[in-house]
Structures are given as C-alpha cells and as structure tokens.
C-alpha cells in the first residue's frame, strides 16, 4: 500500500489481520486493533469473523487465511475462541496466531488452583434478562431526554450532560446508557440560559449530577457549519462567546467538565463515570 506523507511517497508493507471469535468479535477486534496501532509502519488489511464456534467454521477461516498467505500478506490472527478443537484448527493456518484468551485462562487456572473446564458445568447466565431490560430502559430514557426535550422523571437521572449546541452531548449520552445502563439526560445551554449566574432552572435542582462539555471554538464552528452553513450560529465569534460563557457557568457552579475535542466517546464516558463515582 502507498500513502503520501509530506510529499514523499511511503510504501508500507501490507499484512492481513484476522480477528476471529466464537462470539461477536468485538473484544478480538478492540484488543487486536490496540496492538496493531503500535506498528504504524505497516498497512493491515483487516477481517473480523464472528461466531466461529465449530471446527468446520474454523476450517473455512483457515482457507481464507491460506489464500492471503499465498498472496504474500503473511496473515496475523487474533483469536478469542474458547473451544479447543476450534483453536487447534486455527493453529493449523499458515499464519501467526495470537491467542488472546487461552494463555490467560491457564494463568488464571494457576492463580485460582482449579481448572476452567471443571467449573464450566456450573455456569449459567443468570441476570441476562435483567441487564437487557436495564439497557432498554436506559436507551429509551436517553432518547426521551435528548437535548432537553423532556423534564419528566429528570429526578431519576444518574447524569445530566449540559453543553452548548453541537458540543457532542448525544453520542456520550447514548454510550453511557448502552454500555452501563445508566439513566442519562442531556440539556442544551442556549443564549437564554446566560442572563443569570446559576444553572438552567430545569437542571439546577440536580447540580451534583450535572457534567459539562466544552470543545474548541474552531471545532464547534466546523460542526455547526455542517448544520447551518454561514450562519451567525456557526460563526467563530459566536462559538467563542458561547463556549466561554459555558465554561464560566460550569466553574461558578462547580460542575465538572471536559473538552470533547481530543477525546473519544469512550474516553468521555469513562471520565464521567469516574468523576461522578458511577461505576457499578
């Protein structure tokens, strides 16, 4: 693969990367990508293959890997498969196999002084339905309370995210609801909210559960231009004023806040959990 960097053509070595799982593949993908990010000198052609839970399924994957190996892509396979015959089949592929579970399971067996297999029979997934309902309720609560649309049951909110329009309240709200089943409302700070010193009337009773978001004026202006090009609303001057006022408001009311311009939704969520001590 070729890319351009400062006018110089850089030819990167290309490798195939497979994320293989007996479940959704999300863990294999996340951890695999985190590991690969340490090697920016390579280009990776990535494949996520979920639900590989039979030797036949694994044989199909091995066939794909072998094709890539023949094509000179020296595949690397990140696996989170628990079944021994599936793992053995994957190990037969012409590739580097990085087993993200197996070795650690052995470490854990040593630490606990028992084998995983002996224990497995006792395993039953209790509480899944409960967790499912909690997430459903949380997502519905987040939709109902997005952008200050409803004040119903606002007293139940675990978190109320406040920020000027387009600072990124909604994705973080949804992530907290989905990942942690928390009840999260969000409320936009508009010009109307700034004549007074205090928090907006609706959220003021819940100040201890508020969390503010800010961003850089340039970034906010860019996002707003997408919605309303060349408007006063999107102008750099207006964005600068609104962000300064919002930050003043957070400080005056001791509302913890965070700049979203350099943080992912996951990072924002983790900081909010940490700050408001909401970890289950």
């Amino acid at each position: 693969m070729e890319s351009r960097s400062g006018g110089i053509r850089v030819v990167k070595q290309t490798r195939a990367a497979y994320f293989v799982s007996d479940s959704t593949g999300i863990t294999a993908e996340t951890l695999g990508n985190a590991l690969l990010a340490n090697f920016p000198g390579f280009a990776f052609v990535k494949h996520t293959i979920p639900f590989v839970d039979t030797p036949e399924g694994a044989a199909n994957v091995v066939r794909d890997i072998a094709r890539d190996a023949d094509a000179g892509l020296s595949p690397i396979v990140f696996a989170t498969t628990k079944n021994a015959s599936v793992s053995a089949m994957l190990a037969s592929a012409p590739a580097t196999l990085i087993d993200l579970l197996g070795g650690h399971l052995t470490e854990l067996e040593t630490a606990l002084g028992t084998t995983a297999s002996e224990q497995l029979g006792q395993f039953h997934q209790l509480g899944d339905a409960t967790q499912y309902f909690a997430r459903m309720r949380a997502v519905e609560y987040a939709i109902e309370h997005d952008d200050g649309q409803s004040s119903r049951a606002l007293d139940l909110a675990d978190v109320i995210i406040i920020a000027p329009s387009r600072c990124g309240k909604t994705p973080t709200t949804m992530y907290l609801a989905l990942q942690y089943g928390l009840l999260v409302a969000n409320y936009p700070l508009t010009d109307d909210d700034f004549p007074t010193e205090g928090l907006p009337r609706l959220v003021a009773p819940y100040a201890s559960r508020c969390f503010g978001i800010t961003t850089t004026p340039l970034r906010l202006s860019q996002v707003r231009h997408e919605r309303r090009p060349d408007s006063r609303y999107a102008s750099l001057a207006q964005c600068t004023v609104e962000l300064r006022r919002a930050e003043d408001l957070y400080r005056r009311n001791r509302v913890p806040f965070l700049n979203s311009s350099t943080k992912s939704v996951e990072e924002m969520s983790a900081v909010i959990l940490q700050t408001l001590r909401l970890r289950p």
Copy 2:
C-alpha cells in the same frame, strides 16, 4: 460470600479482581470478565481503574491491591497498560498480574520483525475527527428514525430494523449506530401493517436493507406488561398473534430475522452486520 442454590447454602471463595488500564478500561473489563466467567465457583469483588498512566497512579492502585491482599482476597489484576514503568509498578503488587497486552505485543514484534517502540514515534491519530462526526451523525439519525418517527432520508439507511412493539429494536439500533457509525432506522409493525402480504409501504422500497426481530410470546408479554399492565396489548394471546404474523411477514418477503430473547444487543448487532454484509 454466600449464595443459595436449591436450598443448600454454598460458600464461595471470594477473590478481588482489578481491571487496570491507561485508557478507558473497557477492554480490560470485557476480556477480564470473559476470563473470570469460566470460574463460576468463585465470587469476585471487581474494581475497574481507568487512566492509570503514571507510576504515581499505579502506586495508588498497588496500595489498594495490597489492602485487599491483607484482607485475604488474593487479588488478580488484569492490566492493559502500555507504559513500561506503569507495568513494572503494577507487577510489584502482592497479586497475580495478568498482562493482557505486553506478551502479545512481543509476539507481534516477532511476527513483524520490528519493535513497537521504534515505530511508536510515527504514530498519529489521523481520522479520529472523521470517525467522531460519523458516530454523531449516526446516533442523531437513529434518534430521528426511532420507532418509525420519520421517513426523511430513509433511503440513506444502511439497515431498517422492523418488529412488533417492544421486541427490542431500539437498543440494537443504537448499538449499531454508536459502535459502527451505521445509519439505522427502526419501524414498528402494528396491526395496521397486516392486512396486506407485503412490507409496510414506507419500508417496502428498501426491503433488501430490512432486518426483522422476533422474540418469545412470554417475554414480549412480560415487557409489555411493564408498560401497560393487564392490557389487551400485553396479553399472551395478542403477543402470540403479533409475533406469528411478523414472522410470516419476514418469511414471505425474505427479510432475515432473529429472536432477541436469547441474544445480547452485541450479538444481535454482530449477526445483522454479518447477514447484511455491512462490515466496514
């Protein structure tokens, strides 16, 4: 810890489990929990500690771990920390350290014939803003198109999830939007949709992007009872009829579908991606 199983009191050995990360802790938590799930004979007191990126931060964690060790909880530490001095500090704790990254990084260095540290200087997080905007847009699209509320830009949808009321369309919709940045609409199947053989008028033009959800009548009835207790809407008879009709509709129109009663939101999403070939 004690629990009751069939009237017999079971005393489980209790251990402390720490998920320690220099970032959000989500990967350490997910993988650590997946590993611990293999040992249901133990009770684990769990702690997630994100953003541990300095030796001082790690020293604080080691202090907590030592306290648990003194209390006889023989701690197990799952770590995804990249910094060597942070990892060294954690290794000094009186606990079993399971390093979820380090060993694999070494394996990867061998496979690629280079060291991660040599490469790291070149690393820059390009495309993060793009991904952020894509997620924001996707979540907003999902909110706008939840429960058939809008037909605007429905032609842009990557997926349209259809199902009777309360089958679990919304959480899966949001997960697909947040995790993969896909544009996902969902549409409720009501009694009005069943006089004809075809899909509802609004979604019919996009049949190839539709995905159906079904569940068990009992589960649907339980969920509906929470919303409208003792209503006809929540009755087992009504739920049975609606689900049978919905499944008939899916089959007649070759809409792939899935039973949500035994699947997590992550699993549903992974199957939908796979079936509609939507993996990026």
